[in-house]
Symmetry: C2
């Protein structure tokens, strides 16, 4: 049943991911043709620097005019691996208008304005696939959109940024501080020269928005995601975590509220028990837990970035949208029918680990405990350590709304006997 | 775009999985309708014991005549959760003939004669989905068939049987022998009264056949899978594994040969390093590693069995085939275009851990080493322990063809100085 006219693919961007996509399209051409039912052909590659020699790509395919490329009516699929909001958004919507389906790895755009893309895809009866936008080659979008389509996802909890995991893993294993670990990550190529997007949690927050939207069948935008990075995680935090039998990870957490009427999405460092499978995710690996009503707890693990893994995800999507094109069908589009509101961080129910520097005199613990009680936050454990008139208190709370916890911390800061709040960290994964 | 005429589903089998499928179809009816684009309706349930009260299922839907049910021309999808070869095979092919698509959880049938089912599906332009046949709710079939469709899978390595993992985990944690651990598994409901299918590796071998077929786009049948169970794994083996920094797991391993010209599929107990993620898969959980050329190493983890997880996988497939039906399209069918031969176990390249009881006299090690050398098997490490004229030798080999390894063992048995071969176990996951 092999069709001989090839499906035509336009590639937007030819950096680390794009060049690997082009390479695999050539080396795996026979396999792709067999799996799709028709050959696929690279019909054009839009780049910024056309002079650069690109091995394996015929020079006549290279263009700097991406807008013209996506406006060609003979293009079946546009693969967008440029990143960023514009011109990617306009190029993708133009592609749909001219009849192409789109495979994108653009997490920033999908998190910022996925709705525009979904609407354009639906209006023109085309596919928008984006497995590569979250956690590289790890199949996550397809399992959430399709494998769990008959189930109810209640929670997605994962490590979705390799750079920050590398840094935290290094801190855990060597006792290094944040700056030292960041320097090593930069030297080894795990962190970019400007690491802001990773270490401040923007990258993870974009992925959290995408995952929450798909998991809960609702619209979640980047702005809806509470975001804290890892720049303030200290060697002392890591040591405290160890004493509790925990480690510190930057987690993306998407949750359905207990009453089912709202959802939350957040990214922040948190302590998780060493016995939790996410605790043993090392170096730049990613792993995501999905908790569904019937399926139970599933985990997906693998390399979360890199040219080859990301290209693998792009090609998997390419096969799917090509098959859909041939069948004149489309895959699952946006599913936002639940229209659940996204609650604020204050409504999230979680636990805190708080280290306080306090005066070493009688009655301090009673004072501190009273503040917790007044805010309705129940204490799980307290550890007290005194030395030379100074003392420290380490308090771990039971689960309480984040607003009550931060209100507690604010009130603690005002106590005369509390000299300082050394650290506050949420405790997850139990 | 909601269609109001419901899609009609016939359910074959109403045991643990079937009753959960029926229950979820009711409780999640609105979600399923939104995700499919049309409501789904249970149109009939074929059972063996019609008198049994089934909560939530209208008695008029219940029938003992499965053949008549699948022959109805108004059925859109048949869900087969009976298991076994017949009548399941005939019912499924009849369903295709009458225009239905099929969702099946029947690993035995798919491993034994998947080709017949695939051919019937293709002939009639219908879908055959079976995520639930391997590793319960863990998405594996869809990631292999779709997410990795643009990649080249070289290896699938996993724990795909919960009963045996529970037993081996118990042996590792408590030092118990096989029988004792089996008794506990039986008492807790993790092992059936007749545990043969699990402990002899038949269940895992069926899953290995299915996974190998999909991963390598070739046909692999149950008979092609080398199979060894766990009944001969001893407390001493587990202790030896521990001394090597390993544990023992029952692994299903599907591999592409180094030259790419053949594949192998096998199920046997093996030592794997404690640092390998599969080593920490506890109790009845399943986990599967997939190694692909571009994607790298991915792992999928979750509950491998049980009514709810299996029903979740069935419903995910149900949504997909219903969507395909509405679009008058089909999902990916059998992909066996590579037609690779399945090699025998002798061609598998692996490592051995061998414990020998030997005479405690000079020259024994030299004799033993000579036998290894004569068979072209290179020794990695030897540990020698002597006591009262008796001694033991523990040899770990480098990688060699399984045939050379078993030839070595045979020759060792014939040495006068070798009193016995205490255990032989393959070493994997490095």
């Amino acid at each position: 049943m092999m069709r001989t006219r090839p499906l035509k693919v336009a590639l937007l961007g030819c950096g680390v991911v794009g060049s690997e996509v082009a390479r695999l399209m050539t080396t795996h051409a026979d396999d792709l043709a067999a799996r799709i039912g028709a050959p696929v052909e690279l019909a054009g590659v839009a780049v910024r620097r056309p002079q650069k020699v690109r091995e394996g790509i015929a020079p006549e395919l290279v263009t700097t005019d991406a807008a013209a490329l996506v406006s060609r009516d003979d293009i079946d699929v546009v693969v967008e691996v440029i990143g960023g909001i514009e011109p990617a958004r306009t190029l993708i919507t133009t592609a749909f208008e001219h009849g192409a389906s789109v495979v994108s790895a653009n997490k920033a755009l999908l998190a910022e304005d996925g709705a525009t893309l979904y609407e354009a895809a639906e209006k023109h009866g085309r596919d928008l696939y984006f497995e590569a936008a979250v956690a590289g080659a790890i199949p996550l979008i397809r399992p959430l959109r399709e494998s769990l389509a008959g189930d109810k996802v209640n929670r997605v909890l994962g490590i979705v940024n390799g750079t920050t995991n590398f840094i935290l893993d290094k801190m855990e294993r060597t006792g290094a501080g944040y700056s030292e670990a960041l320097d090593e990550a930069t030297a080894l190529g795990y962190a970019e020269a400007d690491p802001t997007a990773d270490v401040e949690g923007f990258d993870a927050a974009a992925k959290a928005a995408i995952l929450a939207g798909i998991a809960f069948h609702t619209r979640v935008r980047l702005d809806d995601v509470h975001r804290e990075g890892i720049t303030e995680v200290t060697a002392a935090d890591m040591a405290s975590a160890k004493r509790m039998g925990c480690t510190v990870k930057l987690l993306a957490i998407c949750e359905r509220a207990a009453d089912g009427r709202s959802v939350t999405a957040r990214v922040h460092p948190a302590m998780i028990p060493l016995s939790h499978p996410l605790a043993s995710v090392r170096e730049a690996y990613n792993a995501v837990f999905v908790e569904a009503e019937a399926a139970g707890r599933l985990m997906f693990y693998g390399p979360g970035a890199g040219g080859s893994p990301t290209a693998s995800a792009v090609l998997g999507d390419l096969v799917a949208v090509c098959r859909n094109k041939l069948a004149q069908a489309t895959g699952p589009g946006e599913s936002a029918y639940t229209q659940l509101p996204v609650s604020h961080m204050g409504d999230v129910v979680t636990r805190y680990h708080i280290s306080l520097d306090v005066a070493d005199k009688p009655g301090v613990l009673a004072q501190v405990a009273t503040v917790f009680a007044e805010h309705g936050v129940s204490i799980d454990t307290v550890r007290q350590k005194g030395k030379d008139g100074e003392a420290s208190l380490v308090v771990v709370t039971h689960r309480a709304p984040d607003a009550a916890l931060s209100g507690t911390v604010e009130a603690l800061r005002k106590l005369d006997t509390v000299r300082g709040v050394a650290s506050i960290m949420r405790v997850e994964g139990e």
